[in-house]
Symmetry: none
């Protein structure tokens, strides 16, 4: 079964709007086992809409169009579909009544043009839109078993129509079932992950294993599809076990969660308090954790001590330590985490100090050198790291590494 | 001149990644007067990539492909283009050396596969990629004057290659001249900006005025194009003056800079030191400033005091103040900023305390209530704000507002 998503709207081609609808629909279709083979975007141009639609119909079983259902004259999706399929456009009185009622409810006069929103290709299944004036519709092609599903462009209306009408329609029509599992891998580069799992990625048709990298995380998606949900589960779990066998130490969540979310849950469950001291990451570690709500019982504070003066003043780092070993050293890092814990009486402390660049590096201490300190009930460990990338990436990698060290202890 | 953007990557079709590259490129092409007629996305499938490419070549003068330049076997963009155009793939030794050097620099072994990134369709112009291992390239079709520009998928690499190579290539090849100016507007909502400038946005053909909103900033782009650079400048400056007349107080940069960057420059120029105390923003204010390099002389510290205990301990907030007025109050906010400044002896202090939600709000103190304190050489001001949105948005808006207050003082 091949599906395509055809977005219609000049604003997309001008770069004014990001086509999140294609992403939303692809994800939703993937979840029920329908593979999307094309995303296409064309402007409000009848000729190009029609040609693209006919081209897609040569290959695809399902086409979902988005956009072009508004009341204005450049909204022509339904008209073009009708023309392409040699169908006439007919007024649906029920839809017209609903649209009129909507205007009445909001005490607004209905512009004459809005009647266009109640016209549909003859024979279409009409999808009521409770979130806007533009109803969607489904045009089923006789003989070929193809469908064209016509949805409005505003993302919340589209999502609403998909959830309330389209999903059930597709499941029933195609007798579908699919199971996916998402594993979050940290501290293991994407290409290294792929190398380690290459046979699973390349050889398997069902389940499939795919990797997605972003923000320091590699997300593995294992998906099985087929008529039996139980069998799908069994297939997925088989691959999941194998992945755990090979790189379980780096898997932080089997629900695709981010490491910061997992850590916050662990802290809350174990009722452990945390204090942080950050230099080169400038508060990024704290904000990664504090972006989650309800953490004030476990997260005490983060001392962002960017200057040497503040390291001495706030964390009791000794002037001699800074002088002899420098701010970026095992010694300073260790004193930083001790200071953070001492002041706060927290169970756990983390400190980060390093050279994020682009300047400030030397041969001995290059850009990317970052020390991370961990204090566990008073016992202090420090770790030396060398990260690559620009300033932002080095900061991000330092934060991810600190979170991974913290996670390793907590789990 | 017709352009199309062809995105290649199964992850887009699975809904794992939003195709922001298409938006970025469309906007960038629009700025230099090139109209985009299609966005297309296909998976890592040679047959479909080739067919889609050939179909686009029937109609378009310029095709930009994104993605499929990685080292792994499913990265096949260049190979498929070469096949479609009957070109052989040849090794570019210079690119190979650069890739090897990149691995050497980062002390990593180069996987054998990476050599694939140094192969290009014969005759291609090669675009060095300083942000990643995948170089881009430009394939010019003889006779037809068409070009295919091949860019990597990761957005920051794509943007970097566009800015450093592609834009200049397109301007030169198509004899375009264009002048743009970017004004950064803060603390003024996008729709309010549009309302204030509606006549300038709607009526003008040259220069054009466009608004882009994101991360709390509204960026205004004023662009004039035409054969004479001087005339373009004159046209742009006319509109810029008019915009300043209407909303100059909210314009933080006439070079499109972010407010945090502007503030860091102001602090460095004026040699003023800054200390921060953050509660509900959890380090986001500090990291917004510390993301810029070379600030350790002016940015002393940020005390992320998330718990009440840490507010008392680190900032000398009085227990009575917390008891009587609560952590989210003018009083606590004022004591926080005093504490931050007292400890650090900094010239300027900022504090933020508020309810970012989603829980913790009351009728009296709803979610979104945020106090911001400013200390200027010992003089303390506190400001009450009510922000809307989810937790992340409220945190972001609080940071932006704090930065705007700081900017207003510094300028």
């Amino acid at each position: 079964m091949k599906a395509a998503i055809l977005a219609i709207g000049t604003e997309l081609l001008m770069g004014q709007t990001v086509n999140t609808n294609a992403t939303t629909l692809s994800k939703a279709l993937g979840e029920i086992g329908i593979g999307v083979y094309y995303h296409m975007t064309v402007g409000d141009n009848p000729q190009r809409i029609k040609e693209t639609l006919l081209k897609l119909l040569e290959e695809c079983d399902l086409i979902i169009t988005t956009g072009g259902l508004g009341p204005t004259l450049d909204d022509i999706t339904k008209e073009v579909i009708a023309e392409a399929l040699h169908l006439e456009m007919v007024l649906d009185h029920r839809s017209f009544d609903i649209i009129k009622e909507r205007f009445r409810m909001f005490n607004r006069n209905m512009p004459e043009n809005n009647i266009r929103q109640a016209y549909f290709p003859k024979g279409a299944i009409i999808l009521d839109n409770e979130k806007g004036t533009a109803p969607g519709c489904i045009v089923e092609l006789e003989n070929t078993n193809q469908s064209i599903i016509v949805l409005p462009g505003p993302p919340r209306e589209l999502k609403h129509l998909y959830d309330t009408h389209v999903k059930a329609y597709l499941l029933e029509r195609h007798h579908l079932s699919m199971v996916s599992k998402y594993l979050s891998v940290y501290d293991y580069g994407e290409s290294a992950v792929e190398e380690r799992l290459v046979d699973l990625i390349e050889s398997q048709q069902n389940p499939t294993l795919a990797t997605y990298a972003g923000d320091g995380k590699v997300l593995l998606r294992i998906t099985a599809s087929g008529p039996s949900p139980d069998e799908n589960h069994r297939l997925v779990e088989g691959v999941v076990s194998e992945v755990y066998r090979r790189m379980g130490d780096y898997i932080v969540s089997d629900q695709g969660k981010d490491i910061d979310e997992v850590i916050v849950s662990l802290l809350l469950n174990k009722k452990l308090t945390l204090a942080m001291a950050e230099s080169c990451t400038g508060g990024k570690l704290a904000s990664a954790l504090i972006k989650h709500p309800g953490t004030s019982e476990v997260i005490d504070s983060s001392l962002v001590t960017y200057s040497n003066a503040s390291k001495m003043r706030l964390l009791d780092v000794k002037p001699e330590t800074l002088q002899v070993y420098g701010a970026v050293s095992h010694q300073t890092c260790g004193e930083m985490v001790k200071g953070a814990v001492k002041h706060s009486n927290a169970d756990i402390g983390i400190s980060i100090t390093g050279i994020a660049g682009p300047t400030g590096g030397t041969d001995e201490k290059p850009v990317g050198l970052v020390y991370i300190g961990l204090s566990i009930f008073g016992e202090v460990y420090t770790f030396e790291n060398k990260f690559t990338g620009d300033r932002e990436l080095i900061q991000q990698r330092a934060v991810i590494k600190a979170l991974k060290l913290l996670y390793d202890y907590l789990k």
